[in-house]
Amino acid sequence: MRIEVNGVEREVQDARLDAILNELGFAEAKVATAVNGDFVPLTARAERQLQPGDRLEVVAPMQGG
């Protein structure tokens, strides 16, 4: 299915968030996630199913003021 990952359309095989992150290469990365603007905690990723067209945000620590 096609979803939006950090503002870019991507084709993913799985619907589960943890599997999607694996597929996108974020398995080992220190990242946090939100789907359609709502936070999805690490502990809930395995149960969270995405739908076609969903907006996934994957964020990491960055410089800030």
């Binding site: 974020f26 964020v59 990491a60 960055m62 800030g64 003021g65």
Partner: protein, 254 residues
């Protein structure tokens, strides 16, 4: 030294981590200044986040994640929730921007987000104006620190409204207050601390200096000098001169 949600900091300097010429210069600025807090943010992962996180952990300072760039309470709340998981801290520097030119906080969305986050157990450091009514509401919402701006973010103008900042200090004697944003020179930091503020938070003035590490140290010394001066109870200023050398006993020589 005042405590921030139960944490006593050993320096009144809080330093941002953005805009440095290199990660090495950033680390050096923290080393030379002894800054106690580093502000960080969250951005879409494009590969650099993991290295940055390793660098920040090595600084050995307390982490204060921000919600920079958020323009609504909803965005800020989601960002704070992600930050808490990622950085493993309940601290959040709550920024909800309402005006694109001045980067002035949106007081309505800020308050809305502060209420939600305080109820969720966050320890909120709200980036606010010096408005007393808004400050009251933020404290009622559960904020135990207030961070009024000195001047617009990145402007380097110093304390634009000393009267407002002084009023805020007088109205909230028991709330830790931090001047956040707009400082350009160490004298601005000393000024804020002399007003009785508990800390200063800055980024651009250090990161964009020709020698960021030296400037970071200058800010640390100035903030500390201002803190000592405030605690030493400064004299009242007056309009007329008053001789400091005793007049009595002066020889009659004319």
């Amino acid at each position: 030294m005042r405590d921030f949600y139960g944490v006593t900091l050993n320096s009144p300097l809080m330093l941002g981590t953005a805009q440095y010429p290199s990660p090495a210069v950033l680390a050096e600025a923290f080393r030379t200044s002894g800054a106690a807090v580093a502000t960080v943010s969250l951005r879409r992962e494009t590969g650099g986040g993991q290295d940055f996180w390793a660098l920040v952990r090595e600084l050995g300072v307390r982490i204060l994640p921000n919600t920079a760039g958020c323009h609504s309470a909803r965005e800020a709340v989601t960002t704070a929730q992600m930050a808490r998981e990622l950085f493993q801290t309940p601290w959040i520097k709550l920024e909800v921007i309402g005006h694109s030119d001045s980067l002035q906080p949106d007081p309505f969305e800020l308050l809305k987000a502060a209420r939600i986050l305080c109820a969720e157990g966050f320890e909120v450091f709200p980036y606010t104006t010096e408005d007393l009514v808004l400050a009251e509401r933020l404290v009622e919402a559960g904020c135990r620190v207030l961070m009024p701006w000195g001047a617009p973010i990145g402007s380097g103008l110093g304390l634009n409204n000393r009267y407002g900042l002084r009023s805020l200090r007088a109205h909230f004697p028991d709330i830790p207050l931090v001047v956040d944003a707009g400082l350009g020179l160490p004298s601005h930091a000393a000024d804020a601390m002399e007003l009785g503020y508990d800390a200063v938070l800055l980024n651009t003035a250090v990161a964009k200096a020709g020698d960021p590490a030296a400037m970071a140290r200058a800010f640390a010394l100035a903030a500390e000098a201002g803190r000592l001066a405030h605690e030493a109870d400064p004299m009242e200023a007056r309009d007329m001169a008053a001789p400091s050398t005793p007049v009595i006993g002066k020889a009659w020589l004319s």
